[in-house]
């Protein structure tokens, strides 16, 4: 058990460090996914199946994917030319060490570390569900509300951006093309032989001969 823990912990740590220090952003994201997987493995090792699987589902299945997607949409995925280590790295390390010390101190001093663990905590999914819906219902609802608000906010921001971006794009396409009338395809959709005739026939009676209007319903 100890060996398994050691391996998983080492893997998680190494990939976490790699996620910080690799130059290629996509590699970093993939390493991050490996770190998430290591974390999930640790949960499973602690017999916390639900949390472990949820970790895989949410963090690897969604978060990691979103990260790579975002990288692809915003950056070229090329290695960054400058050094990955920022200039103020000493401060960063100092803060990290400080946080680590504080956390360690808190954990060691809290009652959790003193209490002996029960022999085998195996909460079933049903129990988790019951707990969530009874004792923890308020936090659950609050989190739900928060996430919904965040989602709606994100959608609104994205919509605004898209509107402006879409407008720009339209303009460039038209400029690049020089066909003013193509910018409004909907108007021309209705344009058939008759409409050109009316457009062009203003000065002359000649027009595209109007075929006999025999309509056949063919498809919806």
């Amino acid at each position: 058990m100890q060996a398994a823990f050691a391996i998983i912990a080492a893997l998680t740590l190494v990939s976490a460090i790699a996620a910080m220090s690799l130059r290629n952003l996509v590699h970093c994201a993939l390493c991050l996914a490996v770190a998430f997987a290591g974390l999930a493995a640790m949960y499973l090792q602690l017999d916390a199946q639900f949390v472990g699987f949820a970790q895989v589902l949410v963090y690897i299945g969604a978060v990691a994917i979103l990260v790579v997607f975002a990288i692809l949409l915003t950056r070229s995925g090329q290695p960054v030319p400058h050094s990955v280590v920022s200039r103020s790295w000493i401060a960063g390390v100092a803060i990290a060490v400080l946080v680590f010390c504080v956390l360690t101190r808190v954990i060691l001093s809290s009652s959790v570390s003193q209490r002996s663990l029960p022999a085998k905590p195996s909460p079933t999914v049903r129990e988790i569900g019951n707990q969530l819906m009874t004792w923890y219902v308020l936090p659950l609802q609050v989190i739900g509300l928060l996430l919904t608000a965040a989602t709606i906010g994100a959608v609104i921001i994205a919509m605004n951006e898209r509107k402006s971006a879409g407008g720009d794009h339209r303009v460039t396409a038209d400029q690049g093309h020089g066909h003013g009338h193509l910018a409004a395809p909907t108007g021309l959709n209705e344009g058939n032989a008759t409409s050109i005739a009316s457009e062009t026939g203003s000065e002359s009676p000649a027009h595209y001969p109007q075929p006999e209007r025999e309509r056949e319903v063919l498809a919806k």
Partner: protein, 411 residues
């Protein structure tokens, strides 16, 4: 003699599996020292699964080509072996002997890892499916969750394949694949949540056990698909699983007429075969889950047919679904990627959420006692899901200004 014991145990195991008896491995495991037993047990469980599904994979590729051929009024492969049965063998040999090409500018490590990362979770997903009355590789409390968790990690593999190839078609394919799989995972999960809600369990074994009853003198099985929410959920689950397994009409990531082969463009030889296999394994797994959730798992359709070994039913249903997939593939054109996402978010997601409500109503009307209550419940559920279906369907096609067209004729 230890060898005699071994063969006796082996025979007993096969016999017990064939006749649906529990504890099939016990006698065989007793031959080995206790310390080796977990490993031996795992090997005994895993190897048949991989063997069976690999065979099934080979047969399905043949079945697909034959079936598509017949749908298209062709003969299909019929040159290798009688009726072309050995065609998969020939294909496999060809794949294995082909040169493995890695593009010069590709990210070699990620390019190599992608098929492995894809193949492992798809095989893992087989672990929680109950194949027969006593045939569950891992009877896990959160089995369904496990299934979706490993299913979700395949997306990363497809991204790795597409990105590492350094091919624009691959990259486009990978981006499409991710968008598609994320979008369809939600209706997939939500449509199975209705089953989980009714069954009150995440364990596949428990869900199947709840579908094991028969009504009307043993001629109507108590499968969830026969309820209004179950039927709707089943159809949505099927559509979403078509998308999850990148099958036509959702084969957008590898749309060969647009993106050559999407993320597979730069793969060849054994790695390509792995991708191909993983795709089919994914299809089997998701069909197996559909069978488990909606079609009563390994239960027979009629009570008197329960004497037929249970795994026969499971695989029969599985292959039925696979045939349906093939049939759909032979019929429909491909959607465009934005239409696909629209369909997921504007049609599948609201309907599957609504389906949860329908399932809840079904659950709470279980206590109805008046005459015709069963039919009433059914109709209520059907209307609750059917009306929004029609309405949403109209809205979806109406939003595209799809109109009835008439044509003029000139003389």
């Amino acid at each position: 003699m230890i060898i005699g014991e071994f063969f006796r145990g082996l025979f007993l195991m096969i016999w017990r599996v064939a006749t649906d008896q529990p504890e099939a491995k016990a006698d065989l495991l007793a031959v080995f020292p206790p310390s080796a037993r977990p490993v031996i047990s795992a090997v005994l469980t895993v190897s048949p699964i991989i063997g069976i599904f690999a065979t099934l994979f080979a047969l399905t590729t043949l079945l697909e080509r034959k079936g598509l051929g017949r749908i298209q009024n062709r003969l299909g492969p019929n040159r290798v072996g009688p009726f072309g049965i050995l065609q998969p063998v020939a294909d496999g040999l060809k794949m294995l002997t082909k040169e493995d090409i890695i593009p010069r500018s590709a990210d070699a490590l990620v390019h190599f890892l992608a098929p492995v990362v894809l193949a492992v979770p798809t095989i893992l997903a087989f672990a929680v499916l109950p194949y027969g009355r006593n045939l569950v590789p891992v009877d896990m409390d959160a089995g369904i969750l496990f299934f979706f968790a490993v299913g979700a990690s395949t997306e990363l593999a497809i991204f790795m394949a597409g990105w590492s190839s350094r091919n624009k078609y691959s990259l486009l394919g990978a981006m499409r694949a991710i968008a598609q799989m994320i979008s369809y995972e939600i209706p997939l999960i939500i449509s199975s949540v209705s089953v989980i809600m009714i069954a009150g369990s995440l364990s596949p074994v428990e869900i199947i056990a709840q579908q094991g009853r028969y009504l009307a003198g043993g001629f109507v099985p108590h499968w969830f698909v026969l309820t209004p929410w179950g039927l709707a959920g089943f159809i949505m689950f099927l559509i979403a699983s078509l998308a999850e397994s990148n099958r036509s009409p959702f084969d957008i990531p590898e749309a060969e007429s647009e993106l050559i082969a999407g993320h597979l463009t730069e793969y060849s030889g054994f790695k390509y075969a792995l991708f191909f296999m993983a795709e089919y394994f994914g299809m089997f797994a998701v069909s197996g889950l559909a069978v488990t959730l909606f079609l009563g798992g390994w239960h027979a359709p009629f009570e008197f047919l329960e004497i037929v070994p249970s795994y026969v039913w499971f695989f029969a249903k599985l292959m039925g679904l696979v045939c349906l997939f093939i049939w759909v593939r032979g019929t429909v054109p491909r959607l465009r990627v934005d239409q696909l996402l629209n369909f997921a978010w504007k049609f599948m997601l609201p309907l599957s959420l609504l389906n949860l409500v329908v399932a809840a109503v079904w659950h709470f009307t279980a206590a109805w006692e008046f005459p015709g209550a069963g039919l009433g419940r059914w109709l209520l559920g059907a209307v609750m899901i059917g009306v929004p279906y029609v309405w949403l369907g109209r809205a979806l096609s109406g939003s595209k200004k799809i109109t009835q067209r008439t044509y003029r004729f000139a003389d």
